[in-house]
Amino acid sequence: MSFIEVSHTADVKIRACAPTLDALFSDACDALMQVMYGNSREGGIQKEIEIDAADIESLILDFLSEVLFVSEVEGIVFSKAKVQIAGLHLYARLDGEPFDKRKHFGGTEVKGISYSGLSIGHDANCYMLDIIFDV
């Protein structure tokens, strides 16, 4: 896990750091699932997601919004996302298990992913992300 929850009064602010953009997006997905369902998440069900966007901020926002949608509607809690980004095209293969109230309790529903406070950058060592989930 290479993300932390940073102090934010009203919502959940996540800061992630990863060696590649692909890993950064994967960590963001992991953070979203952890906020909603906690740490106990396993694999078994595979889903694929493809996104095209106009810029990198929209790409992560649309990706996480789609994960949120699939998770809620299909009742899947994802444990892992393998992300491949080429330009502004994203392909992700997600691994998860069916939602189980007894196992995946204790989280908070995420209502949406916000552009406010969203930043993606990089230095010589890593790609960095700040993102706010409305809860």
Partner: protein, 482 residues
């Protein structure tokens, strides 16, 4: 005050009123204005003031970008933000409404008194069993695609027509529990898919169902008119439009991002993405938002029905003896008429974490309350007071008929988890005679009384400024957390 140091330009106008002058951020069209006491000022984040200044840059904004005393740092608009826009020059923005469209609160009275409910864990347990709460919860009521359409088009009226309430409930809802501008064609299939299984569910986070007691009456005639008496047991329901509203916001934010560029609107925050009110994109968002608002009203009406069923079964009281005081939205945009520079104008008012507080003789308040003003319901947090207030003429003049919506957080979730365990919170509340049920320890510690600003102080400021007047205070006896 701390805000003077963090935002050098901010000016104090009088005891409770502060101005954010044009120029605080580039391209502001009007000044920002917020209402705050000295003690609330000490916990105000600079980011919230910055967000208020950002709102003032939006095209067609009228008079001021406003914020109520529960102002805090959100996304797009600050929470507690209010702004009205001209119908020709102005814009509509999901950032001024939020993801949880028509998150709101309603208060239901009962003929019960404290002795009937004191220490009755079984009452809280039965309510907890009956109303689905928490992440991943699904409705126990029958909602199919046709019912969903009914909820989106007719709101609380659909619920009443389908046996989830009584006609009088509709009189006691803002907008009669239904916005006529709803356009279900602008609601995506994805949003509808999320809406079907969640009709009649509470959700999570700060949403709750509380059993409360009226502990203090401030205004006898108004309390009587609202149907409230000291020591009376009431139920408060706080929730919104669930995944359907969240998806509508997400979908339309994307469309409006494109529209912002197309209409060459310059904004300091992408979350403020907007379009002219009369544009196809603006109209589509408004129609979808109204449909989501209606879904939320139907949802609160369905939960009301479930609560009444539990109380009727346990205490053998008639459904009609549990009337609704009122239902208010606190995340919504509306077309309303207001006096602007001495002229009556139709404007588009955005309220994000703010409550409509129409004064006496204003339109859309129940006839029997015309001389009193609209009931305003302000939820507290688990251990603190909730309030009923009434709308005022001052609110009509100064804030487009708006007031605060709640206490507003002061402690982050990360801090809350570190400093408070759910068990401690439950034990502390039990000492005060408050029973809490929630899906987990974390959900409870996240929403502990300590994480919120004192609701008393927020309400005192709106009362002193005259944006609404205190009618009654309610204390929690039992809390069901979402």
């Amino acid at each position: 005050m701390v805000i003077l140091h963090v935002m050098p330009g901010v000016k104090q106008i009088n005891t409770y009123e502060w101005e954010v002058p044009v120029g605080t951020v580039a391209n502001m069209r009007v000044p920002g204005k917020f209402f705050l006491s000295e003690s609330l000022g000490k916990i105000l984040e600079p980011g919230a003031v910055q967000q208020l200044a950002n709102v003032a840059t939006m095209p067609g904004i009228i008079k001021n970008a406003l914020a109520m005393p529960d102002i805090h740092w959100g996304y797009g608009f600050p929470i507690g933000g209010v702004a009205a826009f001209d119908l020709t020059e102005g814009v509509i923005s999901p950032g001024g409404v939020g993801f949880d469209i028509n998150c709101g609160v309603r208060l239901l009275t009962t003929p019960l008194s404290k002795k009937d409910v004191s220490g009755r864990r079984d009452l809280i347990d039965q309510l907890y069993q009956a109303v689905p709460t928490g992440v991943g919860s699904k409705s126990t009521l029958r909602v199919d695609a046709r019912a969903l359409d009914g909820m989106m088009v007719k709101g609380a009226r659909w619920a009443v027509d389908n046996g989830y309430g009584i006609p009088r409930d509709l009189v006691r809802c803002e907008e009669g529990g239904s916005m006529k501008e709803a356009d279900t064609r602008a609601v995506s299939q994805k949003a509808k898919q999320r809406g079907v299984p969640q009709g009649g569910t509470l959700g999570s986070g700060n949403h709750f169902l509380e059993v409360q007691i009226v502990s203090e009456i401030f205004d006898d005639p108004a309390a009587k008119a609202f149907g409230l008496a000291k020591n009376q047991i009431c139920c408060m329901i706080h929730c919104g439009s669930r995944g359907l509203g969240h998806q509508v916001c997400t979908d339309h934010l994307k469309v409006l991002e494109g529209a912002t560029k197309r209409y060459q609107i310059k904004l300091p925050d992408r979350q403020l993405a907007c379009a002219p009110i009369g544009s196809p994109e603006g109209r589509a968002y408004f129609g979808a938002m109204a449909a989501s608002a209606n879904y939320a009203w139907a949802n609160r009406q369905m939960i009301t029905h479930t609560v009444r069923q539990v109380l009727a079964r346990m205490y053998h009281i008639d459904y009609e003896d549990m009337p609704l005081v009122y239902d208010v939205a606190h995340n919504v945009a509306k077309f309303e008429e207001h006096m602007v520079d001495g002229r009556r104008r139709k404007v588009c008012v955005h309220r994000k974490g703010a409550t409509r507080a129409f004064g006496p003789d204003a339109p859309d308040i129940p006839v029997e309350l015309a001389t009193i003003g609209q009931p305003v319901i302000i939820p507290g947090s688990m251990g603190t007071s909730s309030f009923v207030l009434r709308g005022t003429a001052i609110a009509m003049e100064r804030t487009f008929g708006s007031t605060c919506h709640g206490a507003g957080r002061v402690m982050s979730r990360t801090q809350a988890k570190k400093s408070l365990s759910g068990r401690e919170v439950v034990a502390n509340l039990a000492k005060k005679g408050i029973i809490v049920r929630g899906p987990s320890d974390a959900a409870i510690s996240d929403e502990a009384p300590e994480v919120y600003k004192p609701s008393d102080e927020v309400v005192r400021v709106v009362h002193e400024v005259g944006l609404s007047h205190r009618v009654a205070r309610l204390e929690p006896l039992g809390v069901i957390k979402g």
